[in-house]
Every structure is written in structure tokens, then in C-alpha cells.
């Protein structure tokens, strides 16, 4: 097991800087998910931890010891890959045994270790098969078994379940969580799926453009996002963004609606000035009056998802979504009042770029 620290970690490919000098500290036995869109530097960061890529500047430390110059095979890091990375010509058994054979363990020990981990991963009946015969879920379990068999100090998972279908994904998610609970490895899990990150990790490290946007527990990332990027990237359905203006002690204006503010928001407005970006999660808006923060809108569409409804409403020029109980609907162009939970109204500095970015999602 190991604690992993990064000091001003920087990665450059030619002229392109993929990771801009980031710092983090991952505790021994912690499960951290690195979350971000493609090209955000998350995979580069993971490969630098693994030793698969050189570190341009800065340091990575395992338990306080720099490992910059330690070769990948000497770092005692295991990794499972998005495309499983199994050796097609050899059996499942030999695939799992591979790291032990490379380490020169004796046959009896290898056999014992392989059978033990296969039992845990429910792979015993498959040991004699070649990887080509496995389903994708089985193949990824073999990949995890191969990583686990060598008792690594750090377990890295690079989008391990993004190739699987939805049902398998749910199953593997629980599987990975139970592996962490049982073995207690330091685990680092790279994903672009915010739901996976929130479901699995002790802490989520949100990255974008080669920098860490926030490193915090799932509730913090969800409820107190450090910036508009995190707010937009985390949460499903995505958060609603509005431009606000005329903000002062008395309130602020969102799409023509003047709303009054609670004390914490007033303090926030003093920091931000008169204009900026307001964000509200769909779960914290409801139809009807009753809140100090109320917005007027026109109904657009209702998606009846049975366990809840997702309702789309146009507020001024912004189309927002909100979650309502089953049975609650809006008619097209119906005038509606929306109440916003003031504790969950988030205010950020005006940043056009971030807003566009989140619109892609």
C-alpha cells in the first residue's frame, strides 16, 4: 500500500502541455477518481503515476520517496485497462499468472495465487479459456484479477468499464467497490463518467485543461463545486446555467426575474460584483411558488420517466430542466412559476468559455 503525492507535476508532449504542474496527495488506501473530459490530462497523470510515461517536471512520491526515476516494473503498480489488455494467445489462467511468472515466482505459489484470485473474481470455470471466448464483463474481471494477483502497492484503473453495456457496468461498479473494501489498495480510477466517479470514490479529482479543478469528496463536488466547470461537469441531468446581472445587496436579476438573496449569497455577490453566472441543479428546482428565489417561465416538454419526470421550461432565453415527482407535467407554453432552493443556488464569476464547454455535454 502506498500514499501518493504529486509536486508541481507537469507533462509536455513536444510543444503541447498536457498537465500544468498539479499537486495532490492521495492517502494510503484511499479510492480517488480522476474525472474529466477527454484531453483533460487525466490519463497522462495516471500513466505518469504508473511510470509508463516520463515526468517532464515536478515529482511523484510513493510514501514520501520520489519515484520519477523508478521504472514501471519496479513501482509495484498494477493497472487495468479500458480494452482489458489481455494476451490473446494464452489462457485466462496464464494471463492472470503472467505478472507472477515475470517476477520469477515458483509454480506452486503461482498456482495458489491464481486460483485464489480466480475464486474471488468468479473466474474459476473460465481459467482454461482463451480471452477471445470471454464476454466483455468476464474479460475485464480477468484484467482486474491479473492486477490483483500481485498484491500491488497502487491499483490504477483506466476507464475499466466504459466499454461494457449498461447492465454489466452497474455490476462491475459494485465489484470494483467491493474489491477496494476487501483489499484496501490505494486505488486511482480514471473516468469521464461523473456517475462512476461519484458512486465509487472516496474523493473525486475533477480535471480540465491539464489542471485540477477540484479535489474533494463526492458530496462537496456535487453541492459545493469549486467553479462553473465542475458544476457543469458533475451531476445528471446537467446543472442549469444563467447569466445574472444587477446584483447588489437587495438581490439579483436572472432572465428578467428579480430575486432576493440569503446572507451567504449576499456575501458571494460582494465578491463577484454585479454580473456573473448562476447555476442551479435540476433537483433543487420545483414547480410552484413558495421560495424567496422564484423564476417565471414557459413550459416546453415533459419526459415521463415513471419514477420521476424531467420537465423542460424556458426561462427567458434559457431552456432549463428540473426534476419533478411522477405525474407533475407542464403543457407547452404554459406559464409556470419555479421555486429554487436558495441554499443550492450557486454563483460563479462570468465565464463564457466554461458555459460553452458544459453545453457540449
Amino acid at each position: 500500500m502506498a500514499r501518493i503525492t504529486a509536486n508541481r507535476l507537469l507533462k509536455r508532449y513536444g510543444n503541447f502541455q498536457a498537465v500544468h504542474g498539479i499537486d495532490f496527495d492521495i492517502a494510503d488506501g484511499e479510492f480517488v477518481a480522476i474525472l474529466g473530459p477527454s484531453g483533460c490530462g487525466k490519463s497522462s497523470t495516471m500513466r505518469m503515476i504508473a511510470g509508463l510515461e516520463s515526468i517532464t517536471e515536478g515529482q511523484i512520491l510513493f510514501d514520501g520517496t520520489p519515484v520519477n526515476d523508478v521504472r514501471a516494473r519496479d513501482r509495484n503498480v498494477a493497472m487495468s485497462f479500458e480494452n482489458y489488455a489481455l494476451y490473446a494467445p494464452i489462457t485466462v489462467y496464464e494471463n492472470i499468472a503472467f505478472p507472477l511468472r515475470s517476477a520469477g515466482k515458483d509454480q506452486a505459489e503461482i498456482d495458489r495465487a491464481v486460483r485464489a484470485v480466480a475464486e474471488k473474481m468468479e473466474l474459476t470455470p473460465l481459467l482454461g479459456l482463451k480471452p477471445g471466448r470471454l464476454s466483455s464483463g468476464q474479460a475485464q474481471r480477468v484484467g482486474l484479477a491479473r492486477a490483483l494477483v500481485r498484491k500491488p502497492a497502487v491499483f490504477l484503473l483506466d476507464e475499466p468499464i466504459s466499454h461494457l453495456d449498461t447492465r454489466q457496468r452497474y455490476r462491475m461498479r459494485r465489484f470494483i467497490k467491493s474489491i477496494h473494501q476487501e483489499f484496501g489498495h490505494t486505488m486511482i480510477y480514471v473516468t469521464h463518467d461523473q456517475e462512476e466517479a461519484l458512486a465509487l470514490a472516496d474523493r473525486v479529482m475533477v480535471m480540465s485543461d491539464g489542471a485540477i479543478q477540484q479535489l474533494a469528496t463526492p458530496p462537496e463536488v456535487y453541492s459545493r463545486p469549486a467553479n462553473a466547470f465542475v458544476a457543469g461537469f458533475v451531476g445528471e441531468p446537467p446543472i442549469n446555467f444563467f447569466d445574472f446581472s444587477d446584483a447588489d445587496e437587495t438581490g439579483l436579476t436572472i432572465e428578467g426575474n428579480r430575486v432576493s438573496l440569503t446572507d451567504p449569497l449576499r456575501a458571494r455577490v460582494r465578491e463577484l460584483g454585479p454580473v456573473g453566472l448562476a447555476a442551479i441543479r435540476p433537483h433543487f428546482m420545483r414547480l410552484g411558488a413558495g421560495s424567496p428565489v422564484q423564476l417565471q417561465g414557459r413550459g416546453f416538454i415533459t419526459e415521463e420517466l415513471q419514477d420521476h419526470n424531467e420537465i423542460f421550461v424556458d426561462i427567458g432565453s434559457v431552456r432549463v430542466s428540473l426534476i419533478a415527482p411522477p405525474g407533475v407535467k407542464v403543457a407547452r407554453n404554459e406559464t409556470v412559476t419555479i421555486s429554487v432552493d436558495p441554499d443550492h443556488l450557486l454563483l460563479f464569476p462570468a465565464d463564457v468559455k466554461v458555459k460553452e464547454h458544459s453545453d457540449d455535454l
Binding site: M79, Y87, A88, S102
Partner: protein, 285 residues
């Protein structure tokens, strides 16, 4: 469920197959047939299919003309050229596939040399080998005119671009994560190449070797210009039967049959690998 077949369509289908097959197989059949014909039965009209077979042509080609000498030369030159091409080609292709050396420009440049017709470079090659052959290094490596080294170098130069181009796609199909995984599992970079990457690329390497060997074996222009006697290959050997007194069709057919035989056997043996190799695209990780 019974598959529906319409008889006229089937007839048409097999008719087309036999037509195409005949187009490709008949010349070989005719060559083999001619090689067993007495001279009186060769250039006659109408062509004769029934005759008393004779081995005179083979005797003439092998004993009088010493045709196995050409076979030996060809074997030496093709096998060594192929070995060099496959070795250098695999390493070069690997670095192109993995490190994107030269951003694709070098790869394209290498391939573009293949677009140059051989006839355009044959004169410079002739002059270069003539002069290089006189130097100490040239002498030691048999690089002069009418020496094996000169042909080997030419064949390597001419086959390498195609080999690299073919191999790059095979290496690109091997997932990078396999190599990453092997490195984390305790192999050094070189061990990864040897134990993971090259075994997975084996079908591609086999295909490349087959193509290169066939190209070298069949090459005529370079062999004709760069050799006189000592290093001549089968294609030039067959040509030497075209004498001033006339073309010895019987011995030509016999010599051609002998030349084709090893390649035919080789390709039949390698066929399994080649088909696998050419459809290798779907590597399962």
C-alpha cells in the same frame, strides 16, 4: 432452412469461376506441359496435348546449362534480402506505429520512394555498384557488379518501403495497453517487444516476408543489369536460353518450372498464415 439455389445462376457462377481460374492456371499448366514435350511437339499448330513425355528439356537446363547454379544464387540473394528487410522493417515500422516518428512525413517519404520506377534508378545503381565494388569495403561485402551483395542491397532498398508500410498497420492494430500492461507486469521495453509485440505481429511479419521473398525471387531488371554470370538469378538464367540461334522453348519451360516450384510450395505452406495475416485487423485485446 434450405438455401434457395437457382440452377442457371449456379451454372453461371461456376462458369465464371472456371473462366477466371483457367485464365490464371492455364499458362502455368501450359508451361509445365511444354517442359515435358519433345522439341517436335512444341511450336506446332494446332497445339498438341498428347505426346511422348521426355526429360530432355530438364537434362538440357540442369546439366548443360547448370540451372541449379541460378537457383542457388536466387536463394542466397532472396533469403538474405528478405531477412534484412523483415528485421529492419519490423523495427522501423514499430517506431513509426508507436512513436509517430517524423509526424508521418518520414513514413510518407519512405513510401514515396516506392513510386519511383526501377528503370529510373538502375543507371545510378549500376555506376554506384561499379565504383563501390572497387573499394576495400565493397570488396569485403561483395558489393561490386555481378556479386551477390549488390543485388541484396538493391532488393533491400526496393522492398523496405513496402514492408514498412505493410508492417506499420499491423503494429498499429496491436493495442498499446498490452505493452503498457506487460511493462507494469515486470518486463523491460525490449522484453515487451520480444515477448508481447512481435509475437502478436507474427502473422503480419509472415505476410511481409512472403511478399518480399516473392518480389526478390521474381525480380528481373536489377538482376539483369547488375549481374553477368556469377551472381545471376533464375529470371536472368531463363533469359539466357533466348540465344542468337533461337529460343529454346523446351528448356525455357523446364527452367521456368524449376524456378516457380519452390515459390509455389512456399506460398502453399504459408497460405494459412497469409490469410490470417491479411485479416489480422481485429486483434482482440
Amino acid at each position: 432452412m434450405q438455401r434457395k439455389t437457382s440452377i442457371p445462376l449456379e451454372v453461371l457462377r461456376y462458369g465464371a469461376i472456371f473462366l477466371v481460374l483457367g485464365f490464371f492456371v492455364f499458362p502455368i499448366f501450359w508451361m509445365v506441359l511444354t517442359s515435358f514435350k519433345p522439341e517436335s511437339a512444341i511450336m506446332v499448330s494446332p497445339p498438341r496435348f498428347l505426346f511422348t513425355p521426355t526429360l530432355d528439356n530438364y537434362y538440357h537446363a540442369i546439366v548443360d546449362k547448370n540451372f541449379f547454379f541460378y537457383i542457388k544464387n536466387t536463394l542466397i540473394i532472396s533469403v538474405i534480402s528478405t531477412a534484412i528487410v523483415v528485421f529492419i522493417g519490423s523495427l522501423a515500422a514499430y517506431s513509426f506505429a508507436r512513436y509517430n516518428v517524423g509526424d508521418g512525413h518520414i513514413l510518407f517519404f519512405i513510401l514515396s520512394t516506392k513510386m519511383m520506377p526501377a528503370i529510373a534508378v538502375i543507371l545510378p545503381y549500376f555506376l554506384i555498384f561499379r565504383d563501390v565494388g572497387k573499394t576495400a569495403v565493397g570488396k569485403a561485402l561483395h558489393l561490386g557488379l555481378d556479386q551477390h551483395g549488390a543485388l541484396i542491397v538493391s532488393y533491400v532498398m526496393f522492398n523496405l518501403p513496402f514492408a514498412i508500410w505493410l508492417l506499420v498497420s499491423f503494429f498499429q492494430d496491436i493495442p498499446r495497453s498490452l505493452e503498457h500492461s506487460a511493462r507494469l507486469d515486470g518486463l523491460s521495453r525490449l522484453q515487451v517487444l520480444r515477448k508481447v509485440t512481435f509475437p502478436l505481429a507474427a502473422p503480419g511479419i509472415a505476410v511481409t516476408a512472403v511478399f518480399t521473398l516473392i518480389f526478390c525471387w521474381n525480380e528481373f531488371l536489377f538482376a539483369y543489369i547488375l549481374t553477368r554470370k556469377l551472381a545471376s538469378t533464375v529470371t536472368v538464367g531463363v533469359e539466357s536460353f533466348f540465344t542468337l540461334q533461337g529460343i529454346l522453348w523446351g528448356p525455357v519451360a523446364a527452367a521456368a518450372t524449376i524456378s516457380v516450384a519452390p515459390m509455389l510450395v512456399f506460398v502453399l505452406v504459408m497460405q494459412r498464415y497469409m490469410v490470417r495475416g491479411l485479416t489480422f485487423g481485429a486483434v482482440r485485446g
